[in-house]
């Protein structure tokens, strides 16, 4: 009689908890299956494991609620005396081990496949910086930075009156997308120029950390053309939430057309040859672009900064003072603060333009023009120093 009751209540509990669980799954979001062979493998693995743990959970909870329902003092239940059962204990040690082995086998297979980065048809080097990404196409010789787009950036400021809901792809759009061909095995090399970042696009099925001093590898093969969005996934400072990753997969023909467009040399035409002297207007215009992309996240577009960590540049003693000290700070950074060393990150002409811009904008009317040739000696010295210390570390 007792056992029959327990069976009936137990089955009823299984039914009730299953319905509740189904409801919990039905209202929520799930992982994307993505657009690569790997992301689909990961999705399947996720669903298998989720299914197994859900069944285990339902059985355990059903047993527990059966007991809670039947074996309560208010129903006149009297406590049994048993305190252990070797058979039961062996069963619930061995069965979980078998289940774990069953999960480990497909997981191992998928992981081995992921770790094999050989046979790449193209290589893209991704470098994380606070707070943008640099993409370098190693075969096609293209290199550019990709940062949060202007509309999102305006809407996300504290006290902004722009509603995030009115911005397309709020926080998930960039000024320049990483364009890649579909159906091509791409090796992605990841590193960082400052702190640790993590490059993640859910539709590709993985994230991988970008770590200074290390190059990580992963690969992908996107089957569907489309725009795939993700974000930095490793806390990298103040604007960690504002460095999206946007990958645009296009057909190989469209990709070739895009490459041709990129290597057309429009940018170089604007500012001339790398080390040419530039006039004030060119420096200021180019400087503003560089400033907005690389400096404004901390020092703000109007140079007002964010106290206390990020000083204002308007009226700043360094910016309005000695030019050589200003160049030094920008090229070598300020160790121990968030001020990065831009010497190996930007071209001499970009640094010169940004310096000129900050010395003549925000009410800083110094009238100074900084030319690429003024910046180059410091960049070279910095490079020498790095090579020497790398040499020392290697020995």
């Amino acid at each position: 009689m007792k056992r029959t009751n327990e069976m009936i209540v137990g089955l009823a509990m299984v039914a009730v908890i299953t319905v509740i669980t189904w409801g919990v799954f039905a209202v929520g979001d799930n992982m994307t299956a993505g657009v690569t062979p790997f992301s689909r493998d990961v999705y399947q693995l996720h669903m298998i494991v989720l299914g197994i743990v859900t069944v285990i959970g339902i059985l355990v909870f059903a047993a527990m609620f059966t007991s809670i329902y039947l074996h309560r003092k208010s129903r006149g239940a009297e406590a049994a005396k048993f305190t252990h059962s070797t058979r039961a204990e062996i069963i619930w040690t061995v069965i979980p081990i078998l289940i774990l082995v069953a999960m480990a086998i497909p997981a191992t297979r998928v992981l081995i496949d992921m770790e094999d980065t050989s046979g790449a048809e193209m290589n893209i080097k991704v470098t994380g910086y606070q707070w943008l990404w640099q993409y370098e196409y190693l075969e096609d010789g293209i290199s550019f930075y990709s940062a949060l787009d202007r509309d999102s950036n305006a809407a996300r400021q504290i006290g902004s009156d722009i509603s995030p809901r009115e911005v397309d792809n709020y926080l998930l759009e960039v000024d320049k997308r990483m364009v890649v061909p579909t159906n091509t095995r791409i090796r992605v090399l990841l590193t960082s120029g400052d702190v640790i970042h993590s490059w993640w696009v859910p539709d590709l099925g993985w994230k991988r950390d970008a770590i200074p001093g290390m190059v990580n590898e992963a690969w992908t093969l996107i089957e569907e053309p489309g725009v795939y969005r993700g974000q930095c996934a490793e806390l990298c400072g103040k604007d960690h939430g504002f460095m999206p990753v946007v990958v645009e997969a296009v057909s190989p023909e469209d990709y070739r057309a895009w490459v041709a467009e990129q290597t057309g040399g429009q940018q170089t035409a604007e500012v001339g040859q790398p080390l040419d002297e530039m006039d004030r207007d060119t420096l200021m215009a180019h400087g503003e672009d560089i400033y907005d992309a690389h400096c404004a996240a901390c020092h703000r577009e109007d140079g007002s900064g964010m106290q206390p960590a990020f000083p204002a540049l308007a009226g700043n003693a360094v910016v309005t003072g000695d030019v050589s000290q200003h160049i030094d700070v920008v090229v070598n950074g300020r160790p121990g603060t968030a001020m990065a060393a831009f010497g190996q990150r930007l071209e001499a002409r970009d640094i010169a333009a940004a310096l000129t811009y900050t010395r003549n904008a925000f009410g800083n009317e110094t009238g100074d023009l900084v030319q690429p040739a003024d910046v180059v000696p410091l960049i070279d010295a910095q490079l020498d120093e790095r090579l020497v210390s790398a040499d020392r570390a290697a020995n």
Binding site: G28, D29, N30, F38, D41, V53, I56, G57, V60, F61, M64, I68, H71, K73, S74, A77, E78, A79, A80, K81, T83, H84, A88, E89, W92, P96, L100, A104, A107, L111, I112, M114, R156, I158, S160, R165, Y170, V195, I196, S198, P202, W206, K207, R208, D209, I211, G213, M214, A233, E234, L235, G237, K238, H240, F242, P308, A309, G336, A338, S389
Partner: protein, 535 residues
């Protein structure tokens, strides 16, 4: 009943007022200090969580700038882990372990005083960084370099505070081990000890093993930041990933430090309210020891995305999955203890049952996280946030709540208000699920953790989660009121308090007099809560 009822506790003149608490060497008073401190930190850390949930209430930045948001997430974790959960368990250990093993006090009472009184100063230093020009730490509680090294001079205060917390924990752990191994009453053999004592003994060894590792890691951060060393600076030949290995060698045992005593508490409460002896006592002890051992060889499962060799990834995946076996044994044993018992559902039992269910949910999502390829998607998302809050809030914190209700009559001599206790339970349990369950969905949909603002596709579940958060926060103020009310008065508690309670702590009067077991009791199976010898 021991002879303690007749015992008057004024051996010497007792200092009154503040001096009583500053100079006390009594395990019960120090236990109270720990518990009150822990509750205060729980409120402080909870207030920080409210700031986080308020900012995440809707997309866009409304209340705080991103830098301050990062300070909140970092400080919330440090305060909750080192200020709320760990001191709460040490407080429970101080109060209960001597009474459970029949000892008159902790083995090292003066050190006991010191290990507590370091803590308020450590947290004063840590919290003061919020008001310093360079602000509180904002690099996450893990303090990963190079990001953590970008902080200002206040970073030195953070590291000093962590050192102090470590010293306090190590001294507390030494004291607990010395007490358990040397001060047990005659007849209290190791395998007659209550499981709470067993889990704490194992936890104390974990603490001694890993707190120095944390101290070493943060000291290297200190010299990297202020004395130009390059332990973690790639440009100087160091390795930022090395920090993560060292940190998580501390960090993974640390998460078991925060859950093993909870297992002990639940193993005390469920038998009491099931009126049945704990099922599988010996296997519980071995399972706890296995979990502790495994905790040392799974650290890199926090680092699957840093780029490890295939062999290492596979090893850490398999080792992590193995933890599910002893943890499963514990859960099955608790269910079997309830099975064919004669259960009643007072507040401690309600929290204990909720613990078993919700901790199991957190454990099952932990198994999912162990699967390396799937972790490439889950890692550093809200799925992980949901996972560890299920094991830490509905795990560790719920166990602490259960313990507080279970032993409060013994501490104060009064029954707590059962009606308010049940309201607190249901309010907390419903709101905590509204708070954390939707975070699984957010993580699977692609929301990274530690971001102050998010894409609008995440708006609905964040809104729900924030509402749950505010409700859960409010419920804990009710808990503070229940504790105050119970201290001030209420129905007189008997020595046994609970009908089904076994163990030495229930043989002394309620409230427990300042000194108990000056003469050690004789212990046999009839007074212990666990008797596994009879089949």
């Amino acid at each position: 009943m021991t002879d303690t009822t007749a015992h008057i506790d004024d051996h010497h003149a007792q200092p009154k007022g503040l001096a009583r608490w500053l100079f006390t060497t009594n395990h019960k008073e120090i236990g109270t200090l720990y518990l009150v401190f822990s509750l205060a930190m729980f409120i402080v850390g909870g207030a920080m969580a409210m700031v986080i949930r308020a900012e995440l209430f809707q997309p866009g930045l409304q209340l705080v700038n991103p830098e301050f948001f990062n300070q909140m997430t970092t400080m919330h974790a440090l305060v909750m882990i080192f200020g709320a959960v760990m001191p709460a368990f040490v407080g429970l250990a101080n109060w209960m372990i001597p009474m459970m093993v029949g000892a008159p006090d902790m083995a090292l009472p003066r050190m006991n005083n010191w290990s507590f009184w370091i803590l308020p100063f450590a947290f004063l230093i840590l919290l003061s960084t919020l008001f310093m020009p360079s602000g509180a730490p904002a690099s996450g509680w893990t303090l990963y370099p190079p990001l953590s090294l970008q902080g200002g001079n206040s970073f030195a205060f953070v590291i000093f505070a962590i050192h102090l917390m470590g010293i306090s924990s190590i001294m507390g752990a030494i004291n607990i081990i010395a007490t358990i191994l040397n001060m047990r009453a005659p007849g209290m053999t190791l395998l007659r000890m209550p499981l709470f004592v067993w889990t704490w003994l194992i936890t104390a060894f974990l603490l001694i093993a890993v707190m120095p590792v944390l101290a070493g890691a943060v000291t290297m951060l200190l010299t990297d930041r202020f004395f130009d060393t390059s332990f973690f600076n790639a440009a100087g030949g160091g390795d930022p990933v090395m920090y993560q290995h060292i940190f998580w060698f501390f960090g993974h045992p640390e998460v078991y430090i925060m859950i093993l005593p909870a297992f002990g508490i639940i193993s005390e409460i469920i038998p009491t309210f099931s009126r049945k002896r704990l099922f599988g006592y010996t296997s519980m002890v071995y399972a706890t020891a296995s979990i502790a051992f495994l905790s040392f060889i799974v650290w890199a499962h926090h680092m699957f995305t840093v780029g490890m060799p295939l062999g290492a990834s596979l090893f850490f995946m398999y080792a992590t999955m193995v933890i599910a076996v002893p943890t499963g044994i514990k859960i099955f044993n608790w269910v079997s203890t309830m099975w064919r018992g004669s259960m009643t559902f007072e507040t401690p039992m309600l929290f204990a049952i909720a613990f078993v269910i919700l901790f199991t949910i957190g454990g099952l999502s932990g198994v999912m996280l162990a699967i390396v390829p799937a972790d490439f998607q889950y890692h550093d998302t809200y799925f992980v946030v949901a996972h560890f809050h299920y094991v830490l809030v509905t795990g560790a914190v719920f166990a602490i709540m259960a313990a507080a209700y279970y032993w409060m009559p013994k501490w104060t001599g009064h029954m707590y208000d059962e009606r308010l206790g049940k309201i607190h339970f249901w309010w907390s349990t419903i709101s905590v699920n509204v708070l954390f369950f939707p975070q699984h969905y957010l993580g699977l949909a692609g929301m990274p953790r530690r971001i102050p603002d998010y894409s609008v596709q995440f708006a609905e579940f964040n809104l729900i989660s924030s509402i749950g958060g505010f409700a859960f926060g409010l419920a804990q103020l009710l808990f503070v009121w229940i504790v105050i009310k119970c201290v001030r008065g209420g129905e007189k508690a008997t020595a046994g308090v609970w009908e089904g309670a076994h163990g030495l702590e229930w043989t002394v009067p309620s409230p427990a007099p300042l000194h108990t077991f000056d003469t050690p009791p004789q212990v046999d199976d009839s007074v212990t809560a666990h008797k596994d010898q009879l089949a």
